[in-house]
Symmetry: C2
Subunit: 464 residues, 2 copies
């Protein structure tokens, strides 16, 4: 793809200016005051896809904001790539912490980005990253180098939970049929260290309530003679980990897949300073499950954390009360194959079973989500890896994300295909925060890398 | 004392009416709106003591409300009894839960008191119980039967912490010199089961703070890789008891005296239904230190209870946060000989020592107080026991109180004499609550029993 560099050089300013037009639209899906702007952004995306070479573009209405579907199908025997992204953005609040208005994009140089970065809400998440795919398509169609079929599905409700996406996907499995899904909505390890997110953790979140006596009691009169719900809750929570910080819920690890040594070795190549990590958090030591590194603990291993706890007297001074009730919010991050509903059930049964006499326990599930993993030996991963190697001069590092993107599990379940999380963002991009930005370097690297993914994916697929 | 019954019969109405006058004065020490009423109650007590036969009565001013000192010294070679009580009362709030105005005393019959009970704030705590001693003195002086010297010290700040009593006692040790201190400010087991409180628990109260990372973290990104302060706090709290519910702080039990089998056997005579206890609290089982009964656990054994706990997200729904800090308020009820300052130090050292790497721990002491015990073989206890036997037809049961009355330890330390807690109240009297009352039966039994205590105390003392 010799012409790729010259396309970028020739169109540099236009590629930035077009993105600026999209960034100027305050498409905040969470705030109804911006509703018409969200629709405006939907139209912008639809017309961009047309311009980029899609033969057919639909603005699919939902109960909320539209999903833009576009496709260019060149030959049914060739593979099909489905691109997912979103055109809605987070609110700009707190607006007074922005150095320049959130919806008036500008280019500013920073220490990390001496060549400049685009500052605006959505610059990275996800308008900038999504638009890379539109422009990569434009390059391929305009130069006659599109090697396969391509479909786009760009939604406007990602920042508010993708409520209408599930039905859309379920009702359009034939239309959305594909061989691989490509998403750029994550980050990479560092500007010079490409990485591919190969896994996301699932989530089980519960609230527990321990009830002892039917009313608050005077600790002088009843202390030591009745089960104190706070002490009992502390004991129950403490018992959920053993001395090696393994989780003690029976069956919790049954479906946890151990990563291959190769995968762990690949992960361990990521540049990481334990001293810098500790210093950033002002802690004197890290902590966690025995036998795993910090980066493994927060990505490939399931966890159990108390997110909130309360009970009894919490005001100033001292009150000698034994509370009737104690509460906690507890979440478990899950790794692929751990079903979030199963884990919630296992937690509930176990937590109820360890309640001592003298108290009753109530476990209420909150929301959950399934985890996801892409093996690094599949065609999509290999194609992405080769593409990155061409543009960055080194192979990307597979990286497990600690958080959760529930739609990825949905895609796998309904569309039976793997997702490649080919993110070009950086941790320092301040997504969801004031002064969000996206390096020009990253933006152009994305546009440059994506067509190479198409090329390698088709080549590898044809050899299977 | 044959004339005792006839004194009570003859003066029945007057004894009630006089107490009514005192109860009508809203001497709420906690509320400055009632200041002048507190002084009014002080004057009432002073004049009552004069009427009852004291040769000298002083209204001793303090930085707060006055302490009334009265004495009748008949012979320096005879023993001296010091009576302590208080004329201030708790606020009447919540006033709308009273069936009749709190400071307009009335007599009402109840199931437990078919002969009637006096309903008013302070009826039992402590105006009614204190006034029994004034009237008992009146009986003895008016009939020429006072067998020893007597001193009264009645304060007006008991409900707000007795702030000025310590200095008064320390500065007047000669004036207050005595052979035994008599206090009626506690209860007995049941209307037909007299008991004497032989011990009170001390108190150590601390607040703990566990700090992990320097800010709240996202549990998806950091979960499992850093010490979570709430999980750590739960584990630390859980470790403070072993599987038998013994407290694990090194040295905690060093000074705890085991009660003699005789004392435990006496205590066990108290009527007690474990089923009624569980039913009243709506619990399916009691809980506590192995090897001890419920009544022992809440009186003769030290305890450790969490009185409050908080940290992280405690609002509605779910937030996947790892808190930077977690907090708890923890109190220990102590038994006699356990010094509250020592125990606070032991707790602090131990709690700091068990903090795992990755967190820091801060322990802040709140208030404390020393415990107290009266052996049941001393002269005061024996005299009280004989007096109760005469008036109730059965010996009183020695009873350890679970709560704390710090002044009793102060008296022992400064005045070198033992206190006899000769309470005539009942648990059902609703002290500190709406509809406080004091049975006419209890009031008259008190006036009847007290002179017998004087008589037996002097007899036993003379034999030593």
């Amino acid at each position: 793809m010799d012409s790729l560099r010259s396309f970028l050089d020739t169109n540099k300013d236009r590629l930035v200016n077009e993105l600026f037009e999209l960034l100027k639209i305050p498409s905040v899906s969470a705030d109804s005051a911006y509703s018409s702007d969200v629709f405006k952004a939907a139209n912008f995306v639809a017309s961009s896809l047309k311009t980029a070479g899609c033969d057919s573009v639909e603005i699919c209405q939902t109960k909320g904001f539209p999903i833009i579907y576009g496709e260019k199908l060149i030959d049914p025997i060739l593979p099909t790539i489905l691109v997912y992204g979103h055109y809605d953005v987070q609110p700009a609040d707190p607006i007074d912490l922005w150095d320049a208005p959130a919806f008036e994009p500008i280019i500013k140089k920073t220490d990390l980005h001496p060549e400049g970065a685009i500052f605006a809400r959505g610059a990275c998440d996800d308008k900038g990253q999504m638009y890379m795919h539109v422009k990569a398509l434009e390059f391929m169609t305009s130069t006659g180098q599109l090697p396969c079929n391509v479909k786009f599905m760009i939604e406007g409700e990602e920042e508010v939970g993708s409520d209408n996406l599930t039905d859309f996907v379920k009702n359009n499995t034939t239309k959305l049929k594909n061989d691989v899904i490509l998403i750029s909505d994550t980050g990479m390890i560092a500007k010079d260290t490409p990485s591919i997110t190969t896994g996301l953790r699932g989530l089980s979140y519960v609230e527990v309530e321990v009830t002892g006596p039917n009313r608050d009691l005077h600790s002088g009169i009843y202390g030591g003679a009745v089960a104190n719900p706070i002490n009992v809750l502390a004991k129950m929570i403490a018992s959920l980990h053993d001395k090696n910080n393994h989780i003690t819920i029976p069956g919790f690890y049954d479906k946890v897949e151990d990563l291959s040594n190769q995968e762990r070795a690949e992960m361990a190549k990521a540049p990481f300073s334990i001293e810098a990590y500790k210093d950033a958090l002002k802690i004197n030591a890290v902590y966690g499950e025995k036998g795993y590194t910090t980066n493994e603990r927060n990505s490939i291993r399931p966890t159990l954390d108390v997110n909130g706890i309360w009970g009894g007297y919490t005001g100033e001074g001292a009150k000698t009360v034994i509370a009737s009730k104690a509460h906690a919010k507890i979440s478990m991050r899950l790794v692929p194959n751990q079903d979030c509903h199963d884990i919630t059930s296992l937690f509930k049964s176990h937590f109820e079973s360890i309640a001592p006499e003298g108290v009753t326990v109530k476990v209420t599930p909150h929301h959950g989500g399934q985890g996801y993993v892409t093996p690094i030996n599949n065609v999509g991963y290999k194609a992405a890896s080769m593409a990155y190697k061409d543009t960055f001069g080194k192979s990307p590092i597979p990286q497990r994300g600690g958080g959760s993107i529930p739609i990825v599990a949905l895609f796998e379940k309904e569309l039976k295909s793997k997702t490649i999380l080919m993110g070009f963002g950086l941790d320092s991009d301040a997504i969801h925060s004031p002064n969000e930005h996206f390096g020009l370097f990253n933006y152009f690297k994305g546009i440059e890398t994506i067509p190479l993914f198409y090329k390698y994916f088709v080549e590898l697929q044809s050899k299977m």
